[in-house]
C-alpha cells in the first residue's frame, strides 16, 4: 500500500534516513546496554561502548538495506529503537 503512495525515490530515501539516523540511535542504545551489562570499570565500559557502537552501526546499516520490503526496512529499526530506549530509561535511569 505504502509503495503506491510514495515514489521509489522517497522510499529509498526513507531507508537511507532510517539507516543513518535510526541506525545511530539504535546502535547507541544497544552499545549502552552491552556496556551496562558488562560490569566493567567506567573507562573500560566507555571503550567497549565505542567499539561495539561501530560494529553494530555497520551491521544495522547493512540490515536496513537487506530487507526486501521498504516498509519493514523503515519501520522495524525505529520500533526497536524506541522500545530499547524506553526500556533503558525505565530500567537504568529510573531505578535507584
Amino acid at each position: 500500500m505504502f509503495t503506491r503512495l510514495f515514489s521509489n525515490q522517497v522510499l529509498v530515501s526513507g531507508r537511507v534516513l532510517t539507516a543513518i539516523i535510526g541506525g545511530y540511535l539504535l546502535a547507541m542504545i544497544l552499545s549502552l546496554w552491552i556496556s551496562h551489562f558488562s560490569g566493567l570499570s567506567e573507562r573500560s565500559a566507555r571503550s567497549l561502548t565505542s567499539m561495539m557502537f561501530f560494529l553494530l552501526y555497520t551491521a544495522i546499516i547493512m540490515a536496513v538495506f537487506a530487507y526486501r520490503s521498504h516498509v519493514k526496512a523503515i519501520t522495524t529499526p525505529w520500533i526497536v529503537t524506541i522500545v530499547a530506549w524506553l526500556a533503558w530509561w525505565l530500567a537504568v535511569e529510573e531505578a535507584p
Binding site: 547507541m28 566507555r46 567497549l48 567499539m51 561501530f54
Partner: protein, 528 residues
C-alpha cells in the same frame, strides 16, 4: 533491497563508497604519507641534511643545554635515529606547565653539536594533521567530518566483502587489457590483498575520532590540572652545580638491556644533586599499553641518578588495563604505527598505497561503467570532474607542496603558511580545470602534470641544496635519496598512466564509441 542480499549490498557498497570517496582518497593519501612524516619533514628542511648521527650525540646535547638552559627544570633530548638524523633538544623553565608545547626548542647537528637553523616549515606534519583534522576548520567539526567519512568507508568495506562473490577464487585474478573488467579486478585486488590492513586502519581510525562522533560517551575534558609550578615555589636555593654524568655509557647500558636504541633522554632537575636521567626506548614493543601519556608513553624506560647509577623502576602499572582497554589501545597503536621499525613502516606504506589505489579505482570504475549511458547527465559529469580533482589534482597539489618548500625563499616570514597556501591554491585551480576538462583530456593533462612535477623533484633537490650534496646523500641516513627516489617512481607511475590513456584505440573500440549516443537505453540507477 528488492533484488536479493548480494545486490543490495552492491548498491550499498557503491553509494557509501561514492558519496565519500573523494574525501576518503584525501584522508587515505595523507595518512599513508604520514607514516613517513618525519622523513618528509626532514626532506623539507635541507639545512639539516648534513647531520649524521654519532655516538656522542647525547653528550653534545648536554653541553649545549648546559650553555643555554642551565637553570631549567628539565631537559629533553630526542636522540638522532634512522628517521631523523638531528638532535632535538627542548627544556622547561621553572614555572612553566608540564607538557606545554610552546617550550623553546633547538636543533643540533648530531656530529658537531652546533645549533642548526632550519627553514620554517610544517613539513610532514601538515599532511599528518590534514589526515584527521583537515585544515582551517574548527577541530571538532573537521574530526567529525573525517569520522563520518570513515564510517562510510567501513560500511563500504564490509558491504564490498559481502558482495564479492568469488573472493577466494578471484583472489589472484587480474585480467589486463579488458577495460571495465580490468578496472574491476584492480579495485578488487587492491582491496582484498591488503584487506586486514584496510579493516584495521578503518576501524581503528573510527576509534581514534570516536570522541567527536560519540559525544555522549565521553566526558568533556576538564581544564588541564593546575600547573605544578603553582605548588612549587621557584626555588632559587643555592644550586650546587653537579655535572651531568657522561651519558654515552649509560645509554649503552639501556640499549643493551632493551635490545633497542635509546630514543629520548629526559633529565629532571639538571645540574643539581637531585638530578634523574630517564632514557626511553625508540619504539614501543607492545601493542596493548596506553596509547598516549604514561611516563614513557608505552616505550621502555630506565632511570639513572646523578652519579650514573641505575634506579629501580616502579613496575609499570597495568593501568587497570582490562582486556577491553588492551584491545582499544592496540587499535590506536596499530593505526599510528608507533611500534614500527623500517620494514614494518614500509609494509604499512605499501598497504596504504594499495588503499589509495582501491579508492581511486573504485571511483574511476563507477564512471567507466556508466560512461556509455550517462554521458551528459549532471551526476555523471559531476563525478567525472570530482574524480579528476580529488585523485590527480590532489596528487599534483602534494607535489606542488614539496616544490613550494624549495622555491619559497628560506628566510621569508610565514613561509610555512605560504607552502600550505600553495597546496590549496594549486588544488583549487586544478579543481577548476577538472570542471572544465572532465573526461579523458582532463585526466591526461593532470596526470601528465603530476608525472612531471614528481619526476623532477630529485632534480629540484639537487639544484637547491648546498654543494657537496652528493656526498651527503651517500653518507647520510639515506632518507633524502630514498625520498627523491620514491618521488621519481611516483612520477614514472603517473607517466605510465598517461601512456595507458594515450594508447591508440583499436578499430572496434573506435567504432563502438562513435555509435554511442548519450542516454540511449538508459537503465534506472536504482532498482527497487
Amino acid at each position: 533491497m528488492k533484488n536479493g542480499f548480494r545486490q543490495s549490498m552492491a548498491w550499498l557498497h557503491t553509494w557509501s563508497g561514492l558519496s565519500m570517496g573523494w574525501i576518503l582518497f584525501a584522508v587515505f593519501l595523507t595518512g599513508t604519507l604520514s607514516f613517513f612524516r618525519q622523513e618528509i619533514t626532514l626532506w623539507m628542511q635541507p639545512e639539516l641534511h648534513g647531520s649524521i648521527a654519532s655516538q656522542q650525540a647525547a653528550d653534545l646535547a648536554v653541553q649545549h643545554l648546559q650553555r643555554v638552559a642551565p637553570s631549567a627544570e628539565s631537559w629533553r633530548i630526542d636522540l638522532p635515529n634512522a628517521r631523523e638524523p638531528v638532535i632535538n633538544v627542548s627544556w622547561r623553565e621553572p614555572g612553566q606547565t608540564q607538557g606545554r608545547r610552546g617550550g623553546p626548542r633547538h636543533i643540533l647537528d648530531a656530529t658537531t653539536g652546533e645549533q642548526l637553523f632550519a627553514r620554517d616549515t610544517r613539513g610532514g606534519d601538515f599532511l599528518y594533521r590534514f589526515h584527521f583534522e583537515l585544515y582551517a576548520l574548527p577541530r571538532n567539526l573537521a574530526r567529525a567530518i573525517v569520522g563520518v567519512a570513515t564510517m562510510f568507508m567501513l560500511v563500504g568495506l564490509i558491504s564490498g566483502i559481502v558482495t564479492h562473490k568469488k573472493i577466494f577464487t578471484d583472489f589472484f585474478t587480474f585480467r589486463s587489457k579488458k577495460s571495465q573488467r580490468s578496472w574491476l579486478d584492480a579495485h578488487a585486488a587492491t582491496a582484498v590483498l591488503a584487506l586486514p590492513f584496510h579493516i584495521m586502519i578503518t576501524f581503528s581510525g573510527l576509534l581514534l575520532v570516536a570522541s567527536t562522533l560519540l559525544f555522549w560517551n565521553y566526558e568533556p575534558r576538564g581544564p588541564r590540572g593546575a600547573p605544578e609550578a603553582g605548588s612549587r615555589i621557584i626555588q632559587q636555593v643555592a644550586r650546587e652545580t653537579v655535572p651531568v654524568p657522561t651519558l654515552a655509557p649509560l645509554l649503552a647500558q639501556a640499549q643493551a638491556s632493551w635490545n633497542q636504541p635509546v630514543g629520548r633522554v629526559v633529565i629532571d632537575k639538571p645540574l643539581t644533586s637531585a638530578m634523574t636521567i630517564q632514557a626511553n626506548s625508540l619504539l614501543r614493543q607492545t601493542l596493548t599499553l596506553q596509547s598516549g601519556g604514561g611516563p614513557g608513553g608505552g616505550t621502555d624506560v630506565l632511570r639513572f641518578d646523578a652519579n650514573g647509577d641505575m634506579l629501580k623502576m616502579r613496575e609499570q602499572r597495568a593501568d587497570g588495563a582490562s582486556n577491553v582497554q588492551a584491545v582499544s589501545n592496540t587499535f590506536g597503536t596499530l593505526h599510528r604505527g608507533l611500534f614500527a621499525g623500517p620494514l614494518l613502516r614500509w609494509l604499512f606504506f605499501l598497504s596504504g598505497i594499495l588503499g589509495c589505489l582501491m579508492i581511486a579505482t573504485g571511483l574511476v570504475l563507477w564512471c567507466i561503467k556508466r560512461a556509455r549511458n550517462q554521458l551528459g547527465r549532471v551526476g555523471f559529469e559531476l563525478v567525472s570532474a570530482l574524480n579528476i580533482a580529488a585523485i590527480a589534482g590532489l596528487s599534483c597539489a602534494t607535489a606542488i607542496y614539496f616544490w613550494a618548500n624549495r622555491l619559497i625563499p628560506a628566510h621569508l616570514s610565514q613561509r610555512a603558511d605560504w607552502e600550505i597556501n600553495s597546496f590549496f591554491i594549486s588544488w583549487g585551480l586544478l579543481a577548476l580545470l577538472a570542471i572544465w576538462q572532465r573526461h579523458k583530456t582532463g585526466w591526461i593533462i593532470q596526470l601528465s602534470l603530476a608525472a612531471v612535477l614528481f619526476s623532477t623533484i630529485p632534480l629540484l633537490d639537487l639544484l637547491n641544496s648546498e654543494p657537496g650534496v652528493w656526498n651527503r646523500w651517500v653518507e647520510s641516513n639515506g632518507i633524502v635519496p630514498v625520498f627523491n627516489g620514491l618521488c621519481l617512481l611516483t612520477g614514472l607511475a603517473f607517466a605510465a598512466a598517461v601512456q595507458y590513456l594515450l594508447r591508440p584505440q583499436t578499430k572496434s573500440v573506435k567504432a563502438r564509441r562513435s555509435h554511442v549516443t548519450p542516454s540511449t537505453n538508459s537503465q534506472p540507477e536504482v532498482s527497487p
